[in-house]
Symmetry: C2
Subunit: 209 residues, 2 copies
């Protein structure tokens, strides 16, 4: 298989979502033209992006949905399981814990942590919220690989710095603080407001106000 560019990898989750829906609907194959209509991108973009999966797309046949789905899942690291912990059990932490899609894709919530005594001890999805003081001991035993940070901006750096020593390999960061990756850890910074600004840009551009 050819090497896949970073730009294409960024776009793979979206292909994966569409292919999951198609697979669930029992569709066996799809042409780049049909897929392009569904996804609102050009067919040539699709052929370019999926070029490295050449074997699954044949002239006049289209893509074999299941094979393409599985190959993309493989590249996205979804053919194995990940244990994750959520640090910060506020509303966003709860919302993420309740998102069933994670489980379906192999992400298993094993722990939740907070410093707020009102929250510690609560049960969320069969997981009891623990105090942050227990994080080190917990990680030593459970060995989670992913930490979801939903703590406030001021706490984020201090928390993030504790994680590499605990075996955390990836931080999914919702703290509104852009974290620089500590050694050996990959950080995915999520800035929800970025997409809201894209929205306001479109509203303003379309009205000229």
């Amino acid at each position: 298989m050819k090497k896949i560019s970073k730009m294409v990898i960024r776009r793979l989750p979206r292909y994966f979502r569409y292919l999951s829906d198609l697979k669930a609907a029992g569709v066996e194959r799809i042409s780049s033209t049909e897929l392009s209509k569904k996804m609102h991108v050009t067919a040539s973009q699709i052929r370019h992006d999926l070029n490295c999966f050449g074997g699954f797309g044949q002239q006049g046949y289209g893509y074999n949905v299941e094979q393409l789905h599985d190959a993309i899942a493989n590249i996205l690291g979804l053919s194995r399981h990940y244990k994750l912990v959520i640090i910060g059990a506020g509303n966003l932490g709860h919302a993420l814990a309740n998102y069933a899609g994670f489980v379906r894709r192999g992400f298993r919530l094993v722990g939740m942590f907070d410093v707020n005594p009102d929250v510690v001890g609560q049960k969320v999805q069969n997981v009891t919220v623990r105090h942050m003081e227990e994080l080190e001991e917990f990680c030593k035993q459970e060995k989670p690989e992913i930490a979801v940070l939903t703590v406030s901006k001021p706490a984020a750096v201090e928390v993030a710095n504790r994680l590499p020593a605990l075996g955390i390999r990836g931080i999914w960061n919702f703290s509104f603080m852009e974290l620089t990756a500590p050694e050996g850890v990959y950080v995915e910074n999520v800035h929800l407001s970025d997409s809201l600004m894209t929205l306001s840009q479109h509203i303003t551009a379309s009205t000229g106000k």
Copy 2:
């Protein structure tokens, strides 16, 4: 000012965040080299992206932080105010309602809606959660422009179809259902799991497991 490409517009919110921090810290000017170190992108990417703001970046001087910040705010439509409603008052709805950054950037929560009788009547950020039946009447009076959808996937399409007639101009969609924009409405689909898949891709690629 030259026309700005879609790709550059997608990247503007990130520049805006950095420039907001610099402005708040009292920094008056910054070179593309310094900005590139902070943002972990190449200086040539920055010069390319900000080329259309030519007047604010001068050889040997760098960018005037405040002017560049304000010009980008202007393009992102942040020099005016937007009223927004949140539809779906679950954990994610609450989390978004509590996000102080929205207010600072001109997004004002005016209403929250749900169908769950346990939630209707609750107060979130001085806003009382109303029943979905009141949506039409409320929008007629308050004229919100943005609807934030945090309802479940099955409810999303039905809710989205009610919005254009109510004067909603933009939908910020967290429902995990990729919505096609109804006539005259811009939809920004947020798929939280996409960035989680990017994370798992990195973990897997770096271990080879």
